[in-house]
C-alpha cells in the first residue's frame, strides 16, 4: 500500500522524509476509495448547500407551498403527504442536517479532544476522574441519552447539536488520550517542559499538531455517526420539527405511501446513504493517509 501511494505521487519526486510530507488531501485523493469518498460527499454537500437556492426556481414551488393533493404524481417527483413538491423539499432538506451534523461533530471534537489530551498529559487522579466519568457516559447508549435530553429540553436545534456533540465527546476523548500518550514522552515535549512553557501551550502547540492524524480520522467517523443520529432523531419526530423540510423527517412523513409515491422516501434515503457512505470512505482514506505519515516519520 505504501509503495502504491508513493509511486502515484504526481510530482514524481523521491519519497520525502523531511518534516513536510505531501498534503493529507493529496494522499487521500491518491487512494481510489478516497476519491470515491470525496466525490460522494461533495455531491451531497453541494446539493445540501445550494439546493435551497434552487428549490423554488427548479420546481416552481417553495418547500412549503402546496402544489397538488397529497401523494399526487404531478411534478418531477410528485407531492408529499401534504401535497407539497417532493423535489423542492428534498432540495431544501439537507442543509440543516449537514449543518447540525458538522456543528455537533465540531463540538464533540473540541470537548472530547481537550478532555483526552488533558487526561493523558495530567495523568494521576485527574486522568482517573476524567476517564471514569467518560466510562459512565459511554455506558449510556447515544440515542437513548439523546431521546432523554430532547424530551426534557424540547426538540430545538441547539439541543440536538449539544446532545449529539457531547455524546460523541467520550469516544473522542479516548482516542485523543491514547494518541497523546504516544507522543507525550517525545523529546520535543520534554524540551518544552524544560523551558517551562505553560501546559496549555504545550497541549496546544506541541501535542495537538502531532495527534491531528488520528483525531481527523475520528472526526470523519463521528461526522458519519452525527448524520445518522440526527436523521434518526428527525425520523422519530424528535429532531427537526414540521413544517421544516428535512430528509429524516421526510422519510417519516411519507413512508405511509411508500408503495404509491415512493419518491418522498427514496430521495431522502439515497441522499443520507450516499452522504454517510461518502464520509465513511473519506474517514478511512484519511486514516490510511495519516498512518502513512507516522510510519514514515
Amino acid at each position: 500500500m505504501s509503495t502504491h501511494i508513493l509511486t502515484s505521487d504526481p510530482t514524481g519526486a523521491p519519497p520525502r522524509t523531511s518534516s513536510k510530507p505531501p498534503g493529507v488531501l493529496r494522499r487521500v485523493w491518491a487512494q481510489s476509495e478516497g476519491r470515491v469518498g470525496i466525490v460522494l460527499t461533495a455531491v451531497v454537500v453541494v446539493l445540501a448547500v445550494f439546493g435551497p437556492l434552487l428549490a423554488a426556481p427548479l420546481t416552481g414551488y417553495t418547500p412549503y407551498q402546496f402544489a397538488d393533493r397529497p401523494f399526487a404524481h404531478s411534478g418531477v417527483f410528485g407531492t408529499d403527504n401534504l401535497g407539497r413538491s417532493v423535489l423542492a423539499r428534498f432540495l431544501d432538506g439537507g442543509r440543516l442536517l449537514l449543518l447540525y451534523s458538522v456543528l455537533a461533530t465540531a463540538l464533540g471534537m473540541v470537548v472530547g479532544g481537550a478532555l483526552g489530551m488533558l487526561a493523558a498529559y495530567a495523568r494521576g487522579w485527574l486522568d482517573s476522574v476524567i476517564m471514569r466519568l467518560n466510562d459512565i457516559v459511554l455506558a449510556i447508549p447515544q440515542l437513548v441519552f439523546a431521546l432523554l435530553a430532547i424530551t426534557v429540553l424540547g426538540p430545538k436545534g441547539w439541543v440536538l447539536v449539544v446532545v449529539i456533540g457531547l455524546t460523541h465527546a467520550p469516544r473522542i476523548a479516548r482516542v485523543a488520550r491514547s494518541a497523546t500518550l504516544r507522543v507525550i514522552n517525545e523529546d520535543y515535549i520534554r524540551a518544552a517542559e524544560m523551558y517551562s512553557v505553560p501546559r496549555w501551550r504545550i497541549i496546544g502547540r506541541e501535542i495537538l499538531p502531532n495527534i491531528a492524524g488520528p483525531l481527523s480520522v475520528e472526526a470523519g467517523l463521528r461526522l458519519t455517526y452525527s448524520i445518522g443520529a440526527i436523521a434518526s432523531l428527525s425520523f422519530l419526530g424528535l429532531g427537526m420539527q414540521p413544517p421544516t423540510a428535512d430528509w429524516g423527517l421526510m422519510i417519516n412523513e411519507n413512508r405511509i405511501a411508500l408503495s404509491v409515491q415512493p419518491w418522498g422516501v427514496l430521495l431522502s434515503v439515497f441522499a443520507i446513504a450516499v452522504l454517510t457512505i461518502g464520509t465513511n470512505l473519506l474517514a478511512d482514506a484519511i486514516a490510511r493517509a495519516t498512518a502513512q505519515t507516522t510510519v514514515e516519520e
Binding site: F66, F71, S74, G83, G237, Q241, P242, A257, Q261
Partner: protein, 531 residues
C-alpha cells in the same frame, strides 16, 4: 351564501396513468399472493346482492389497540374497544346511519313537561346472552355503574344531573334529574351506555348485543360468536367475527391488500384513491360530524383579544385545509360544531379566507408588525399534525409566525392537556348541546378554550330545559352565533370516515356517527359468494 357543502365528489379525481402503473406494480405482487391464498382474485365477481348469505368469518383489521384494551361495556377508549362494545351490548337508544336516535332496548324514552323526569319503556322479550331476561333492575344497575362516583365511566360526564334511576313498573324505568335536561336521550343513546345485567363482570361480559365474546387477547385479537339469544331481527349472518390488532396503518393496509383481513377501519385519506383503484377493494366513504379544531384559549394573550381570534379564523383557507389534510374527504367548517344536529345553523354565512381583514384586525389589536405564536400539536388523530402545518403556512400571509411544537400524544394528553394556549384536539360526531356540555360551558370537563360567558351559560341552561324543538333550536342558534363571532375554536372542517373492505364483504353501509365500518354493525354484514 349557500349551504357550505363540499362539492367535489371523492373518487371523481382520476388517477394519472403513471400513478396507476406505479401502484399497480407495487400492489401487484401482493394481489397475486391474495389470489393464491383466498381463491378470490381480482377478476372474479361476488354475489353481494339479494338476500344475505349465512356463514363465513369476517376478519377486521384495527389499529390503536394495546394491552389496555377492554371489553367493558362502559369504558371503551380506542377503536377496538368501540367495536367490541357495539357488538356485545345495546344501549337504550342508539343513533342510526343517518345520525337519528332510534330505539334499541327502550321502545320509548320520554320526558315529563319540565324535562326533569324521563321514562324509559323497555322492549319486551329481550334476553341477555346468558339467557336471563332484561329487567328494569338491570337498567338501574347499569346507570349506577356508569355514574359510580368512585369510578365514573365514559358517558358519566354528560349525566351529572342524573339523581336517580328507579324501577316504576315491570317494563318501565324513571330517570330523575336534579335539573331539567331536554337532551338526556342524546346522552344515554351512545355506544358506551350499553345495558348490562346485574352483577356484571367485564371479564366475562354478558350483554344483549348480536355477538358474544368467544375469546379476547388485549392488543392482539378478539373472537366474537353470534349471540343465540339475540333479540334483533337483522343477523348476525357470519359464523364468527375476528378483530385483529395491528401496530400501524402500513401493517393493516398491507394485511387488507394481501387478504389477511376482509375489512379495515379508517384508512389514511391520502391513500383512498389508490386503494379504491384496486379492483378487489371497496371504499366506504361516510360523511360525519368528526372535527379537528384549533383551540385558542380565550383567557390568555394574545387570544384574550377577540380581534386576534377573529383574525386567526380569517387566515384559514378552509377548502385548502380539506384538500391538503383530508385529501378532499371532508365538509367545510364554519367555526361551529355539531354539523349533523338538525339545529345546526346552516344559514350563517360561510367564513372564508380574508387576509386583508385579518391583518387589519391584528393591527387594531396592537400586532401591526406581525405576531408570533406557538402551536402545540401531537399525532392524536391522523391529520392533526398535518393540519397544523397547513395552518402555519396559511397564517404566514397575514404575518403570523406560527412555530409548531410537536409533542407525543402522551405528553399532549398529560398534565398540560386543556391548558395549552394554542393547540388542537379532535371530537367525534355529537349533537350541539351534548358538545356544549362537554366542551364549551364554564365547568365542562373539556373546556379547552376556557370559554366562560354568562350569557352563553344562560342560553345553554335554557336550551337544556326547553322541550319544544323549535324554541330550543332558536336558543341553540343564539349560542352558536356567539361561538361564530367570539369563540375560541377554529373549526375548519368535518372529516369523512373512510374505510376499506374486500368486495366480497356485503352489508357495509355509510354511517354518519363517525364509528368506522358502518358503525361496526357487524350483525348486518355477510360474506358474498363467488358467482
Amino acid at each position: 351564501m349557500p349551504e357550505p357543502e363540499h362539492r367535489r365528489r371523492p373518487g371523481a379525481h382520476r388517477l394519472s396513468r403513471r400513478g396507476l402503473l406505479g401502484s399497480g406494480a407495487a400492489l401487484g405482487s401482493l394481489g397475486l399472493l391474495a389470489a393464491c391464498s383466498n381463491g378470490a382474485g381480482g377478476g372474479e365477481h361476488f354475489q353481494v346482492e339479494g338476500p344475505p348469505r349465512k356463514g363465513g368469518i369476517l376478519r377486521v383489521g384495527l389499529t390503536g389497540g394495546s394491552a389496555a384494551d377492554t371489553a367493558d361495556a362502559h369504558s371503551p377508549v380506542n377503536n377496538g374497544d368501540i367495536a367490541r362494545t357495539v357488538n356485545l351490548y345495546d344501549p337504550l337508544l342508539m343513533r342510526d346511519d343517518d345520525y337519528v336516535l332510534r330505539p334499541r332496548l327502550a321502545t320509548s324514552f320520554k320526558p315529563n313537561a319540565a324535562a326533569t323526569v324521563w321514562t324509559a319503556t323497555l322492549r319486551t322479550g329481550v334476553r341477555f346472552s346468558d339467557g336471563s331476561p332484561l329487567e328494569p333492575e338491570d337498567v338501574v344497575y347499569t346507570f349506577k355503574r356508569i355514574t359510580d362516583k368512585k369510578d365514573p365511566k365514559v358517558i358519566a360526564s354528560g349525566l351529572t344531573m342524573l339523581d336517580d334511576v328507579v324501577k316504576t313498573g315491570p317494563h318501565t324505568v324513571e330517570f330523575r334529574l336534579s335539573e331539567p335536561n331536554s337532551v338526556l336521550d342524546d346522552q344515554i343513546g351512545q355506544y358506551a351506555g350499553g345495558i348490562v345485567p346485574r352483577g356484571y363482570d367485564p371479564k366475562k361480559p354478558i350483554g344483549t348485543g348480536p355477538f358474544v365474546l368467544e375469546s379476547f387477547a388485549p392488543g392482539e385479537s378478539t373472537v366474537l360468536k353470534p349471540n343465540p339469544h339475540y333479540w334483533g331481527k337483522t343477523g348476525p349472518f357470519v359464523d364468527e367475527v375476528r378483530l385483529l390488532s395491528f401496530n400501524d396503518d402500513d401493517a393493516v393496509i398491507n394485511a387488507l391488500l394481501s387478504s389477511q383481513v376482509d375489512a379495515v377501519s379508517q384508512i389514511p385519506l391520502a391513500l383512498v384513491e389508490v386503494i379504491g383503484s384496486d379492483e378487489r377493494m371497496a371504499i366506504l366513504n361516510s360523511k360525519t360530524g368528526r372535527w379537528m379544531p384549533f383551540t385558542m384559549r380565550v383567557d390568555r394573550p394574545p387570544f384574550d383579544d377577540v380581534r386576534v381570534r377573529q383574525a386567526f379564523r380569517l387566515v384559514v383557507d378552509r377548502q385548502q385545509m380539506i384538500d391538503q389534510v383530508l385529501s378532499g374527504f371532508g365538509q367545510l367548517g364554519n367555526d361551529m360544531y355539531g354539523i349533523l344536529d338538525p339545529a345546526y345553523p346552516k344559514d350563517i354565512p360561510q367564513r372564508t379566507q380574508d387576509i386583508a381583514k385579518a391583518k387589519e384586525l391584528l393591527a387594531a389589536a396592537g400586532h401591526g408588525n406581525g405576531l408570533k405564536v406557538e402551536l402545540v400539536t401531537a399525532p392524536i388523530q391522523s391529520g392533526v399534525v398535518e393540519a397544523a402545518q397547513v395552518f402555519a403556512q396559511q397564517a404566514k400571509a397575514a404575518d403570523i409566525d406560527v412555530s409548531i411544537r410537536r409533542v407525543d400524544s402522551t405528553t399532549f394528553f398529560g398534565d398540560d392537556y386543556l391548558q395549552w394556549d394554542f393547540a388542537q384536539d379532535f371530537w367525534n360526531s355529537r349533537n350541539i348541546l351534548g358538545q356544549t356540555v362537554a366542551g364549551t360551558v364554564k365547568d365542562a370537563p373539556f373546556n379547552e378554550t376556557h370559554w366562560d360567558n354568562p350569557r352563553f351559560e344562560r342560553l345553554a341552561a335554557q336550551a337544556r330545559g326547553e322541550l319544544d324543538e323549535a324554541k330550543r333550536a332558536k336558543l341553540i342558534r343564539q349560542g352558536q352565533e356567539m361561538l361564530f363571532d367570539e369563540g375560541g375554536y377554529i373549526i375548519w372542517g368535518f372529516a369523512n370516515q373512510v374505510d376499506a373492505y374486500q368486495k366480497y364483504v356485503a352489508g357495509m353501509k355509510e354511517n354518519a356517527t363517525g364509528i368506522p365500518l358502518g358503525g361496526y354493525n357487524f350483525n348486518r354484514v355477510w360474506i358474498g359468494e363467488v358467482s
